[in-house]
């Protein structure tokens, strides 16, 4: 069924009961945090900057962003119902108390913190070593343990927390910060620019293939504390990096705002693969207390023949507002977006991508899979823009929605703007209910209803999962299983 620009809801109900789901990672680690009192003004920004011992230029940058933010209003065009957010009720900085006494190795890390990672299935010390993954773990707003730094150092790769980068590589940061997502880009990006706490910084020098997958585990822990991550990845000419981002959060009642900014810069013939598995607290059955995930992610294919690929599996958060995008500036550059977004209970997602074709012979590919269950609302919103000078641009978009149950919704909002007659733009979209006959077929071969739903959903998502690094794909599959489990009977 082809749905374009309007909504469709299901009206069969048997499968509804399949989607009850409990959040597995619902717990709060009791670590005293040093938190700035709620509220936002210039003094708070100065305080954040001072605590982080930032250079003057960065403070100025933050303050300028704050001034921009004050003039802006939150976007209202998304297909989302958002309760007004009281930005003065949010605390804009929190760090684990042991901040001043940074642990020098993982052995010195607060055992409670390590325990938290264990509960999340991230045994940092073992898993990182076994999997050959360098983990820059972000706990609350300050990075704590960074592994494999030395090995990366040998390869010339810089992988550190954003704060460290500001101290150790100020020129690189200054050169690229805000060059892809300007401070005034949008309401949430401006807010982030004013108050960003920490995040990751990656620099891959010319000709270097990063020897391992880089991975950051995010976690929101302090009550009433929004997280404002800032990530910057720069890949110099002919370099390659694969970056993984995964997150989960403890159960709580307060809404937690998360407004991250991720900027990617790919120079000539460079390739950046950015993968996300997002499993933040979605709220209770009535949608109370879930994370608001308002993220700006954008990659700039600055050099010719550069390539940026976004892969995301979004199963968490109460509200997701997220459009990882590519600016295809270099000739022959290519951008990809692979997405699985699952909404259930009262979750809402308005997610998609923007592919901006500026260079000649640029290519983009969009594969979006939306799954709606319970009362979940899932929107795909995608823009493909081909500029006047983008000779020979090509885009392929495939956008599929799967509805499970009677009360959910799937919506598709494709925007296509083509200003060059040589462009080739294809858009395919389907919306289907999880088919009763497929379920029956699986069950009549002995599969339980739950296994049958999981199998069909996995099949639906396969094109996206195969883009994920092996380990992440397993995690993503498990996540979907959690999302669909405990529901039968």
């Amino acid at each position: 069924m082809w749905i374009n620009g309007y909504s469709m809801s299901t009206n069969t109900s048997d499968i509804e009961s399949l989607i009850g789901r409990r959040y597995e990672h619902g717990f709060v680690t009791d670590i005293e945090t040093e938190t700035v009192p709620p509220g936002l003004n210039e003094d708070v920004i100065r305080l954040i900057s001072a605590k982080k011992e930032e250079p003057e230029w960065l403070l100025e940058w933050r303050l300028k962003a704050y001034q921009e933010w004050l003039k802006m209003s939150p976007p209202d065009w998304a297909h989302l119902g958002i309760e007004p957010i009281d930005y003065q009720a949010i605390s804009y900085f929190a760090a684990p108390k042991s901040d001043k006494d940074r642990p020098q190795s993982l052995d010195e890390v607060d055992p409670k913190l390590l325990e938290t990672y264990e509960k999340l299935g991230v045994p940092l010390h073992e898993r990182a070593r076994l999997a050959g993954v360098a983990v820059d773990a972000v706990f609350d707003s300050v990075s704590i343990g960074t592994t494999f730094k030395e090995e990366l150092h040998k390869a010339g790769v810089i992988f550190c927390s954003f704060s460290e980068a500001v101290k150790d590589y100020p020129e690189l940061v200054r050169q690229h910060l805000g060059s892809v997502v300007p401070a005034r880009d949008n309401y949430f990006a401006a807010l982030n620019s004013a108050v960003f706490s920490d995040g990751s910084f990656v620099f891959i020098p010319k000709g270097v293939r990063c020897p391992m997958e880089l991975s950051t585990y995010f976690r929101i822990n302090a009550a009433e504390t929004g997280q404002f991550e800032r990530t910057l990845i720069v890949a110099e000419d002919e370099s390659y990096v694969s970056y993984l981002e995964g997150c989960t959060a403890p159960m709580r009642d307060e809404n937690q705002l998360h407004a991250a900014v991720v900027e990617l810069v790919a120079m000539e013939k460079a390739e950046i693969k950015y993968s996300t598995v997002q499993n933040w607290y979605p709220g209770d059955e009535e949608g109370r207390g879930g994370i608001y995930n308002f993220v700006t992610k954008r990659g700039d294919c600055r050099g010719d023949h550069s390539r940026i690929s976004w892969t995301q599996v979004e199963t968490g958060s109460a509200i997701t507002w997220k459009y990882p995008s590519c600016i295809l500036r270099g000739d022959h550059s290519s951008g990809e977006f692979y997405s699985v977004a699952l909404t259930h209970q009262c979750q809402q997602a308005d997610t998609g991508t923007k592919m901006i074709h500026l260079g000649k012979n640029t290519k983009s590919r969009i594969i979006s899979k939306g799954i709606s269950a319970g009362r979940g609302q899932n929107s795909y919103r995608g823009l493909v823009r081909v500029a006047k000078k983008a000779e020979g641009a090509r885009n392929y978009t495939q956008c599929d929605s799967l509805l499970i149950g009677a009360r959910c919704g799937a919506h598709t909002f494709p925007y296509i703007e083509v200003k060059n007659p040589t462009a080739q733009v294809e858009h395919e979209a389907t919306t289907s209910r999880i088919a009763e006959d497929q379920l029956h077929y699986c069950r009549s071969r002995g599969l339980s209803e739950e296994d049958a739903v999981a199998m069909i959903v996995h099949g639906f998502c396969r094109e996206v999962f195969k883009e994920l690094p092996m380990e992440f794909a397993v995690e993503a599959k498990a996540l979907l299983e959690v999302s669909l489990e405990g529901a039968v009977g």
Partner: protein, 256 residues
């Protein structure tokens, strides 16, 4: 003789429309029953009702499967207990690997019997051997379930599943439809290879042709939702020659 399936006075409806109107049939171990009849007689409905499909509501009657009340069992319980339906129109499941699907099904059956799961290597060995017998393109096991399969390939895939799952009672719902003679033979050979004193088949078909290859012990004619005539193999030939009209006329004569 061991009784495997006993259907008594079965009434069923779809969307409030009665389709089965007092069907009774008993199937013992080792027997092959053919069910024939005109379009709309309820042949496929019988298969769907027995497999437990949603939307097919039983309004009266009973079905016992190896002594158990079949109608109170879930779809998957019926399957692992040994009831198999080869679908007339096997569905495609995009993105789901055929081998993975079949191995999951085999292991669901094994678990239900308290057996160890079959590992991937032994599974593939068995599947490959059977596929060769069925003259099935080996690549099909690596494709997505039924996706892009031809009609004949889908039917062979159903028979492959049956061979791997080793049911007690297999219902073949118009498995012959849309098959050329070679494919028909392969499918029939696949069924015949499973014939044994412990296993029974219900072969639902429109055409006598299939019964040249799968020779039934009994032939039943279904009309207006119940069995109106039963006989041996020769009745199928008679039906082919005379058509179903005489039976329906007889029915009307009886009714008036």
């Amino acid at each position: 003789m061991t009784e495997l399936l006993r259907i008594e006075n079965l009434h069923a409806e779809v969307n409030g429309k009665p389709i089965l109107n007092g069907l009774s049939l008993t199937i013992n171990a080792g027997e092959v029953h053919a069910i024939m009849g005109p379009n709309g007689a309820g042949k496929s409905t019988l298969g769907h009702v027995l497999s437990g499909r949603d939307g097919y509501e039983v309004t009266a009657g009973s079905v016992h499967f190896m002594g158990q009340d079949l109608l109170s069992m879930d779809i998957e319980e019926r399957a692992v207990a040994g009831l198999f339906l080869a679908f007339q129109y096997p569905v495609e499941i995009p993105g789901v690997n055929n081998a993975y699907f079949l191995r999951t099904a085999v292991n669901a059956h094994r678990r239900a019997r308290g057996e160890d799961e079959l590992d991937a290597v032994s599974f593939m060995r068995q599947a490959r051997t059977l596929m060769k017998e069925l003259k099935m393109n080996e690549a099909l096991i690596k494709r997505n379930v039924n996706e892009g399969f031809s009609g004949g390939e889908k039917k062979r895939n159903e028979v492959l599943q049956m061979r791997m799952l080793l049911p007690k009672v297999a219902i073949l719902d118009e498995t012959d439809s849309g098959l050329d003679i070679d494919a028909l033979r392969c499918v029939a050979d696949g069924v015949n290879a499973l014939r044994s004193a412990e296993r029974s088949f219900v072969v639902i078909t429109h055409y006598q042709r299939l019964l040249d290859y799968i020779v039934p012990d009994y032939v039943h004619v279904l009309s207006a939702g119940k069995i109106v005539a039963s006989g041996d193999k020769s009745m199928a030939l008679e039906l082919e020659a005379k058509g179903y009209a005489w039976l329906q006329e007889g029915d009307e004569a009886k009714a008036s």
